[in-house]
Symmetry: C2
Subunit: 419 residues, 2 copies
């Protein structure tokens, strides 16, 4: 495993407004919105003629939209034909992979500028169809047919983590509470409400209806109430990320041309991808995700940086437990020690290690094939100082990371960004 | 669009036996067979520890097998975890894309050895499910919902070609006759019978049953009989490729390590990928495929070679008309002139421009996501002098090409190979 032959930068990035938008807004609307929002961030402008390929990350338009062969459809919509338009898939890490392959392609010398699309429009099928489509990212022969869907698989991880490290249901809640606070500051997020907001709204509603007002002191009481029902114990409703339609667009450029687009490129100095058995029963442990360990090892090695250097990170919180595992498997904290940091509010925006300033998959939403690229959009905005509302870091972010997971950890892609 | 930073070679290649094999042989069996057959072609041996990533080309295990997230599943089966295992998709050009991205990744300096898997197991669903899954590679909003499936789309191309250039139904038959002759010499092909064999078998059957023996002078008479019914005029049964289960495996290595595996690497000196609107009504012409023109332009430019230099080629004959279009769009012949060459038997194994010596998709079979890699397997065997039975070229093949198409021409990947 070597080094990349030349440097590659992110010179523009944007997402569509995430949400449940079918039938009004489908693949074309989400993608063209993401494109336009990304174009608006390129200081000196960018046009289709500047771009040599369109790399598309998508989990399964096959199952969500009954549309395969998405590459040329996506590239047509922004005038990029007849340029190459491959599609990349690795479950929920699909656009992390698309971005990684774009980076590699530019480093190879073949191209100078590539546009990356991450997209998933999930609400064209009913909820049972969403659950089904997602479950095909697990082992269909042994896991899905035995009745396991993703909340169940991550519940097994959470149970094992609780058993081994004493992690509690309250620790999981803390992750959700923090991410919803961040999502409130993100105008592109699906849920822009803190859990406290939701609690107060519920209290007002009950009061308005003349009912008995619940005796909730804080968010924890609310999250222990029937408003937060169990989905697959120990995971409750607010431990799960959202079903979301959305797209993200990134513009990557070689060191040779990056300055044409901007004076402040964000360099992608590390990339790594790891794999593990997609069936959890084929792994050696439930409490650590080997693919994350491997992907981050590669990315740290390439960049010459370590976990302590990461000032902020977007990690793959498809479930609250996944954020805790990521914090440990990325080496930010020792195994079993992440919850202490969470209790200390280290991962809040004003903490020692801010995580998921975008709101994360938990609150920003999780259009699965768009998620990896959308994480890069948040890092781009934070590093360029253009994050909306009150979530912009108060210090100059010089080094950051994205961590994008597929399935129950069968695939992981990690990227490191530097100014 | 530049050059690759370093040279990349094919050092091993093999396929599984193609056929309709469900339920006996599914994804794991096809893939491990292809792997073992490819390993057997690596002169000095190759082991999982030598390989840095597994690049998987697959069209839609989502729809054919209800299994997404195929990358880590494929890599697990051959002991490659925790290495990267991304999946690549571009309809029937999926493993052409996987191979191209592996080539680019090695050229980038990031890795030295990558294993490419192309796979599709299509017969787990009934025929209507196959037609449906394939149709999602067209424009689902406008084409498929209007009733068009792939035979219909290629029938429109064939009709237009007939109208513009005077191409006839007999010309289409000639493509099928030649490819079935070649497939007879390929022990990995799904149909190892010439059309003459099929005709004689039919005659013998009718005779045996005491029926009236058909007055067929040659294959053309047979192909004009009810044994070759129309599917979508002018395309008949024998104008269509097959529904197939199969896998292909390729080992790619950088110039720095290729000699470790073999003294006779096959260099991949050119690669190109093009796109076009996936809906045919959005294109400027039906009789030429812009994606092929663009992909070959890039590959010729990179390799410094031209159409005349290609001694043999595997082209994407998903329908007989597609082989004719490819011969023209790749620049082997002027538009409208390919049929003359076909009449002259130029594309036979002993002709001036042998095409689809493997039997092509028409006779070898078309496991869609495996096809691009399987084309490379044939070229590898021909260039190494190890093609089975009587189909090995009688001269030393020094330059060759693969042409892999997705959908009705929305995606095309071309690769050029040299000794």
């Amino acid at each position: 495993m070597g080094k990349l032959a030349r440097k590659v930068a992110l010179v523009g990035a944007g997402t569509s407004k995430f949400g449940q938008t079918f039938p009004l807004r489908r693949i074309p609307e989400h993608w063209t919105d993401a494109w336009l929002n990304a174009v608006a961030t390129v200081d000196n402008g960018i046009e289709p003629k500047d771009i040599e390929a369109c790399y598309v990350g998508n989990y399964s338009a096959d199952l969500f939209n009954h549309q395969g062969h998405l590459g040329p459809m996506i590239s047509s919509l922004v005038g990029l034909n007849p340029k190459p338009a491959p599609r990349f898939e690795g479950a929920c890490a699909s656009s992390g992979i698309a971005m990684r392959q774009a980076l590699i392609t530019i480093a190879s010398g073949l191209m100078d500028v590539i546009c990356v699309c991450g997209i998933e429009v999930m609400t064209e099928v009913p909820t049972v169809g969403v659950t089904d489509a997602l479950a095909t990212a697990s082992d269909v022969t042994f896991e899905y047919t035995a009745g396991a869907t993703f909340p169940g698989l991550y519940a097994a991880i959470a149970s094992a983590h609780m058993h081994k490290y004493g992690t509690t249901h309250e620790d999981l809640m803390r992750v959700a509470i923090k991410n919803h606070i961040n999502g409130k500051e993100n105008p592109y997020a699906q849920m822009q409400r803190s859990i406290k907001d939701l609690m107060e709204r519920k209290i007002a509603k009950v009061k308005g209806a003349g009912g008995e007002v619940p005796d909730w002191k804080d968010e924890f009481d609310y999250l222990k109430s029937p408003s937060n029902p169990p989905i697959a114990w120990p995971l409750h409703l607010f431990d799960c990320s959202l079903v979301t339609d959305g797209a993200a667009c990134l513009f990557l450029a070689s060191e040779d041309v990056a300055k044409k687009f901007t004076d402040t490129p964000i360099w992608i100095t590390g990339t790594g991808q790891g794999s593990a058995a997609i069936a959890m029963h084929d792994r050696t442990t439930l409490t650590a995700l080997e693919a994350t360990v491997e992907a981050s090892r590669q990315a740290y090695q390439m960049s010459g940086r370590g976990p302590k250097d990461m000032q902020i990170a977007e990690v793959h919180d498809c479930f609250t437990i996944a954020e805790i595992c990521a914090m440990e498997d990325l080496g930010f904290y020792e195994k079993g020690k992440a919850v202490e940091a969470i209790k200390n509010k280290d991962t809040y925006r004003d903490g020692a290690k801010p995580i998921n300033t975008s709101g994360g998959l938990k609150s920003k939403g999780h259009p699965v094939g768009a998620t990896g690229a959308a994480q890069a959009v948040e890092i781009f905005k934070q590093m360029r100082g253009i994050a909306e509302r009150d979530r912009q870091m108060k210090f100059d972010v010089e080094i950051a990371m994205t961590h994008n997971l597929g399935g129950s950890g069968g695939t992981c892609v990690v990227q490191i960004y530097e100014k």
